[in-house]
Each structure stands twice: as structure tokens, then as C-alpha cells.
């Protein structure tokens, strides 16, 4: 509905209006300045915005949003642009709202163990700012050096340590957001719970569709006294899957429990020489933390569980240095795989842990069928898969095949009771899979919630929740007669 009215605004007129709110150097409108904002880290979708605004205060954000609401101009909020699902893709006739200048740590409360920060503060910068207090901020997406907390809240980001410490939603206490009317709304508080509807959880993971986050109060945790890292090798990937289930079943929640398959661990080894057992079909990296005695006890228990689950080798890091080397390959896995292939497509889906072995086997079969290699590096402990599909965009048809393969993997996640996103969000990328995961009743309720915040659909339009007609069209092709899109998934 906003399109008609906005197409008539050009960037000159818009710039004039914005100049009443922002200094000239906080408004970008020339093609060469707009270009860096044309995509996030998922570069298959590209679009330059009409204009970019770079506010440096909540007040400016409020005024920009009031303007956009008044002239029906779509607004896409952007953090560091490290997102992997195209959630920050600009609108052609819209404003790109960069929150990069809102980068102050407002306050740190040691007693309450909280930090109040602006949305443009980098994830890792929070932990660095409280390190001297023996505290840290737990969620640690791979992009934590660069990604910002506003984007983390918008995507409900995870990371290696989410198995034990929870997702972003479990690690924040309060946010301030600007509503589409430009009002400042405070959600949450210092207490454990808050009265009223749980808007804090609702906003977390809402992908910029409900409001603009301008302040986040995060919870801080005491740094564990002791950390131990184990590496286990398996000659069969399904045995590694079973080991994961056995560790969790024993009531042990590691700080991190990651799996790498043969292709991933070989690529990482070639790249950073971490000393990985390259003949293995898969390795598990397990980090245990807590008090010294807790870690010692758990280390012994996990070793026994790994051996009983069929590990061909279990290594215990002899010191912190060796622990870091074990992790080095995991952390370098994505660039390492980038060396194997001109392009790769990183998927993100979550499945119940018990289905790990089945799903890994099915992906291997599909890899054969599509003629595209797949590498797996993922958060095994919480069932959050990150298959990387290798392809070459210069070979005609490979990108399309990779996308199809990726879609199939997500549908497989749904089939086994999981979900199409673990931590990357839906964005532009997974709109069709939302049609598979949710029925009309649920999608209708999502749209009603959206309308309760943003009745004119100006905030990040076209992302995260597909329009019902899109699903109808997608459904007409794929899920007709109540069948799953891909009959071969029926066997799971």
C-alpha cells in the first residue's frame, strides 16, 4: 500500500526532509555511497536503497521514523550487515536506517550483572568491556567480532555457547524500541519476569518488522573458573550423532558441542593445521566449563561416553593453548571451505537431536543426487545444522541447483519436527519454506501481530513472514493434495 505514495518521492526531496533531522553527512544518497548497503552477508539478493540515514541518537531515530510513517516510506533497519538470510536487504523505494552510529555502552551494572548498550555496539565489545569484572555476554555468533547487538536481538542470534547459555532471548532483560509512530517503548526490566504480554520475546527474532531497537540491556554471566576442550574422532558420522545424544542424556550440558564432517575437517586442517585426524568421518569438539572439580568430573564422564559411543580417538587439551588449537579449525571452517569451491551456500535449520544421524545421512544422499558437495560444521548439541553446499556460480544452473538443494534440506528439518532457522532468521531467503512450516492459521496470526505494530507494513516489508498469496502460489506448485514438496522426504 505504501508503494504508490513513495514512488513519487525521489531522493532529493527525501534528503531535504531528512536534513531537518540529521546533519548532511549522516545522509547518503549518491549511488557510490549507497552501494555498500545493497546487501547483507547473503549477497545473492542485492538492491540499493533510495537513501541511507545514519542517526546517532534515539531522538533522531524517532524523528526519522515519524517522517517515514508520515510519508509512507518503507524503512529497513541495518546493524553490521553480517546477516545471512537477506534480512537487511533494502527496499528500492525505501530508506535504509543504519544504526551503526549508535555505538555507545551506556552503563554497566556490576551488581545487577547487566550492561545497557546502544544497538550498534559489537557483540564482542560487550564481553571486552566487562572482562575486568570477570563477566561476559554469552551468545557468540561466528560473526561476533563484527555483528552488533541490535542485529543479534532482531535475529535472536545464537552461537557455540547457546547450548548451555541460551539464545539472545534468554540473555537480554530490557529493550527500548521506537514504534512506527515514533514513540519510545520500554520493554522488560531489571526483574526476572515482567507483567503484561511478553513483548521482549516477541521483539527478539522479529527481524526488524515490528519496531526499531534503540537500546538493549543484556545479562552478563560470571566467567567460568575453568574450561576444558575435548576432541573426539569417529569413523562413522552417525556414531558422532549418537555420542551427542548420549552426552545430553547423561544430564551433562557442555558449554559447546560442535560437529565437523570429513570434508569440513579436512578443509580446516589444510587451512590452519590444527592437527585434526583427517582420516575420521567426523569429529566432535566438546567444551566443558564450570568450577575445577565440576569440569574434571564432567571431562571424565564425557570421555567415557565418547568411547562407549564408538569414538576411535578422544583427545583432551593439555592446556588452554591446546584448547585454542582444537577450536582454531572450527572457527576457520567457513573460510577454509571457501577455498574448496568458488561459492558455497550456508544453510541454517534446527532439528530435534534424536534425528541427527538420519538427517545427516539424507543430506549425503541428496548431495549425490544434486551432484553438489556438502560440508557440515554445526552446533550438534542443540541440533542446529549449518550445511554448506558447494557450487560454482559460473557454471550455468549450479546456483539454482544449490538453492533447490538448500530448500530441500530445510523441508527435511520441518519433516522431522524441526524448524527452518536456528539463528540466521528467515529474511528473504526462507520465505517459501515458511509456507511449508506454517499453515494458514499460524501465518494469519503472524500477520495480525505485525499489523498490531506496523499497520501500514512500512518496517522491513516483504521479509520473514510470507504473504498468504505467496504461499498459495508456492503451495500450488509444491504441497498440493496435502503432500510434502518432495516425496522422498516421506520416509522420515
Amino acid at each position: 500500500m505504501s508503494q504508490n505514495s513513495t514512488k513519487s518521492v525521489n531522493h532529493h526531496q527525501l534528503r531535504k526532509l531528512l536534513l531537518q533531522i540529521l546533519p548532511a553527512d549522516s545522509i547518503l544518497y549518491q549511488q557510490e555511497d549507497l552501494r555498500p548497503y545493497e546487501c547483507d552477508a547473503l549477497s545473492v539478493y542485492r538492491q540499493v536503497p533510495l537513501i541511507v540515514a545514519l542517526p546517532d541518537s534515539s531522538k533522531q531515530v524517532q524523528n526519522i521514523i515519524r517522517l517515514c510513517n508520515k510519508i509512507n516510506l518503507p524503512v529497513v533497519a541495518r546493524g553490521a550487515g553480517t546477516g545471512l538470510s537477506g534480512g537487511a536487504l533494502p527496499c528500492e523505494h525505501g530508506l535504509l536506517l543504519s544504526l551503526a552510529k549508535l555505538k555507545n555502552i551506556i552503563s554497566i551494572n556490576e551488581k545487577l550483572r547487566t550492561a545497557c548498550v546502544q544497538p550498534g555496539v559489537r557483540n564482542l565489545a560487550i564481553s571486552q568491556a566487562v572482562e575486568h569484572l570477570g563477566l561476559f555476554y554469552a551468545p557468540d555468533p561466528s560473526s561476533q567480532i563484527a555483528c552488533t547487538i541490535g542485529g543479534n536481538v532482531a535475529e535472536n542470534s545464537g552461537g557455540v555457547h547457546c547450548l548451555k547459555y541460551g539464545l539472545t532471548v534468554h540473555n537480554i532483560q530490557q529493550i527500548k524500541m521506537v514504534s512506527i509512530e515514533g514513540e519510545l517503548i520500554t520493554i522488560g526490566g531489571d526483574g526476572l519476569d515482567c507483567a503484561g504480554y511478553d513483548l521482549l520475546a516477541l521483539m527478539t527474532g522479529s527481524e526488524g518488522m515490528l519496531g526499531i531497537i534503540v537500546e538493549v540491556t543484556v545479562k552478563l554471566l560470571p566467567k567460568p573458573e575453568c574450561v576444558q576442550t575435548l576432541l573426539a574422532a569417529f569413523n562413522d558420522i552417525s556414531k558422532a550423532g549418537t555420542a551427542v545424544a548420549n552426552i545430553i542424556s547423561a544430564g551433562i550440558i557442555p558449554a559447546g558441542l560442535e560437529m565437523m564432517d570429513k570434508l569440513a575437517l579436512q578443509a580446516a586442517e589444510d587451512f590452519v593445521h590444527a592437527g585434526y585426524p583427517t582420516e575420521a568421518a567426523a569429529i566432535l569438539l566438546c567444551e566443558l566449563d564450570g568450577s575445577e572439580i565440576e569440569v574434571t568430573t564432567h571431562t571424565n564422564a564425557v570421555c567415557e561416553l565418547l568411547n562407549n559411543s564408538g569414538a576411535t580417538e578422544v583427545r583432551i587439551a593439555q592446556d588452554a593453548q591446546q584448547g585454542l588449537i582444537f577450536w582454531k579449525g572450527r572457527k576457520a571452517a567457513f573460510p577454509a571451505i571457501g577455498r574448496l569451491s568458488p561459492d558455497y551456500y550456508c544453510m541454517d535449520g534446527t532439528i530435534p537431536r534424536k534425528s541427527l544421524a538420519t538427517v545427516l545421512q539424507a543430506m549425503a544422499d541428496m548431495s549425490q543426487q544434486y551432484g553438489l558437495a556438502i560440508a557440515n560444521v554445526f552446533h550438534a548439541g542443540d541440533g542446529n545444522l549449518h550445511p554448506l553446499i558447494l557450487y560454482d556460480a559460473n557454471i550455468p544452473g549450479e546456483l539454482t541447483r544449490a538453492e533447490e538443494f538448500g530448500a530441500k534440506i530445510l523441508e527435511l528439518c520441518i519433516k522431522v519436527g524441526g524448524t527452518i532457522t536456528g539463528e540466521h532468521g528467515v529474511g528473504m531467503e526462507k520465505l517459501d519454506q515458511m509456507c511449508v512450516q506454517f499453515k494458514t492459521n499460524e501465518l494469519t496470526q503472524f500477520h495480525a501481530v505485525k499489523a498490531a505494530f506496523d499497520p501500514k507494513a512500512l518496517l522491513n516489508p516483504g521479509k520473514a513472514v510470507p504473504a498468504l498469496h505467496r504461499c498459495a502460489e508456492f503451495g500450488a506448485m509444491h504441497v498440493h493434495h496435502g503432500k510434502l514438496p518432495h516425496p522422498e522426504l516421506e520416509r522420515f
Copy 2:
């Protein structure tokens, strides 16, 4: 808006309509049958409904809601009626929807560690049903023998063990709800996270205002290998508060950490003879669980922390039997206090832990000022207060004074950064305090969310979120000129 149309329906006409959906014995309409539904456990508010419906299937719930929606009849859902904030108070011209007959455990999945249950299943019945698998359901409100899981989700119930294991929202994975249109909506899944807006969290604690819960999939946890209970006595309640902060600061999260003040512990001792040190100003009960070695280590550490915090005595339960005796007085505290006074008013607010000592002192001062005794029995570890104000309803003015005192306590919770409810919900009781905790912007957003689910406001009307005009009236009396309702709170 619904009132005009519904006043014209009498219970005879309504019964006739309901007979097309339910058998005759599932519809109650005679005064003596309606009477048991006139209040929940907060009996100061009473109202018999027009009619009571007792469906025994989701399908029947859907049909009842469709009928109510069609004829604009208000609907109040009711679980076991153990709520303490008047959340299940019926509407005079409305239908009371009892979910008591939906009491089947649908399935238990040992591998996924989940149980799928109907809303009328009692909280404790879930743990009993999975005990043979070594599993349990963690949230344990005091009413767990009687209260049902549907009500637990509606109120986001807590309990002694929520400090370590989280509130209801952290312990459920999926719900099925009936929307006001009578549609069945599935929210959540078997995975750790779910795509789309977090409607699972939004529904949890929504007090029957957004939809009718007809199925809940709860998470189950492995029963801890070992449990240890400690009892510590203090000659000063603020030292007990400091001890709580010191334990949590040391990175130890007990399974439960409860405080009882002098009046509460003396009443409990007189009642059940648990051997409590009745000369103490306060006691702490601390439950530690985990592996044997973990519990041993933490027991030693907590003992040292308690002693360093000024405990006059620390007792360690020598066996499970003694542990149960330590808890016996805590569990009997409410009825024990009932023996001291003809009536008591149990409040529920949550504060940041660091404010425990200040708030306890302020409540003692207010107790003097109001001439009403106060007993404190509460979840100290998570800052969830349960002050019990003692009064005699037969003495003119005492009930009003008790309610005023209670309201002041809640406003004090807000003042120190906390919230007006920990686990009891807002219901009818705390509508005015919602006006203190939230500004117009937040309340407006709450109403917009409500309208996204229930545009005609038929679901539990008048509860949980106050109308803006109510706050304006309340505010006109209390918060004029931006001042807090009670100037004496300014000092916190």
C-alpha cells in the same frame, strides 16, 4: 462493545445453543452449580457467570468459541481455579469455560524428553507420570498438587525451582490454542527455536486474553542424581539478603533459595515442628542438586558463603529425611500464617536481588505505619517476594488498609526496577499497579497486541491490561505531576 448484545442472551437461550455442541451434563446454569465458579483462590472478587461449559475435546472448545464469537459472548477460561490474582473471575454476562475435563496425558517422548498433555492435567501429575523414566517437569508452584498446566502457561507460573530451571515459558516447547475465530493454531515445535514471531512466549503469561490453550508440550528434565538441603539462620534479615547475593555472585545457582522471616518461621514452627531456630530474624533454605561431586563441592562453598555473610548457624541435612523436614515448614508456611490471623493478603512482586535488604526494611516500616503485621516467605534467589499482610476482615477498614499496603509494596517493587508480578499474574488484582509500571506507550502496544488476537475483546475481558481511561483516572489521583504515587518511595 460485547455487553449490549450479550445482555440480551439469557442462560436458557444460551444453554439451547450449547446443547448443539455439548451433552447436557457438560453445561451448568443453575445458581447452585454456578457458585463454585464465582472466584479463584483470590476470593475478594466474586461473580457468578451466566453459564459454565465443560468441554472434553479441542473440537468442542473450537465450537464453543465459534459460538461465543458469533453472538459476542465474553469467555473466561478456567483451569483449576488456584490462581491468586482473580484472573479466572467470571463475567456476569459471559461464559465460563472450564478446561477441567481436558485432562489426558496425550504422549510422552522419552527420547525428546517431552510430554504432550491437555490443559487440565495437573502440574504434579506430569512429574508423576514420568518418574519411572527418571524425568520431571521443573516448574513447581506451591499449588502444584491442584493447579493445571493450562493455567500454568496462562500465568507463566514459577515455583521454588525456577531459580535454576526457569519459569513455565522456559519449560514448554509447543502449544495448540484455539483462536477467537475457533481456529486451531500450533505454536512452537520440537526444535530449540522456531521461525516466525515468538508467539509461544507471547501466549505464556497472557492470562487467557489471547486464545484458549488446548494442548501443551512440556520439556522434561533428568532428575538430579543428588540433592542436598541447607538451613541457615541470621539475626538480621538484611544479612540473609546479602547472603543470597553472595551465593549467586559466586556463580552458584541453587535449585531453590528461599527466605522466611521471623513471623513466618515462628508460625511454621508452631504448626509443623520442623525444629526451626525460632530466635532467628530470618532463615534461608538452600537446595543444591546435581551430580554427587557437584553437590558436595557446592555445599562446602555455600556453607562458607553463609558463614561469611554472618549466619549465626548453618545446618546441613544429614539425609533426605532431614532435608524434607527443613522444607516441611516452608511448604506449610501459608496455612501456618493463616493460623495467626483471620485473614491474610498474599502479594507477589519481583525485585532485583540487590534491593532485597532495602525492600525488606521498607516493608517493615510500612507494616508499622499501617498497623498490620507482615510475614515474608519467598523465593529469595530470584527476588520474587511473597509478603503476606495479616488482617481481620471483620474489623472495619482492615481489608482496605491491607489492600492499600499491598499496592504500596507493588509500587515499591516498580520503584527499585522490579515488577508487580513474579508468578501470580495481574488478573483483577493489580490493574492499577499496571498503570504505575507502564506508560501509555507500552499499554497502547499491549492493547494493539490484544486486538491482533481478539479484536472484539471477548477473551477474559477486563483483566491483566488496564484500559487507558482507568489509568488516567488512577493517575489523576496518584501520579499527577509525574510524581510517584507515594512520596515516601522517593528515597529508594
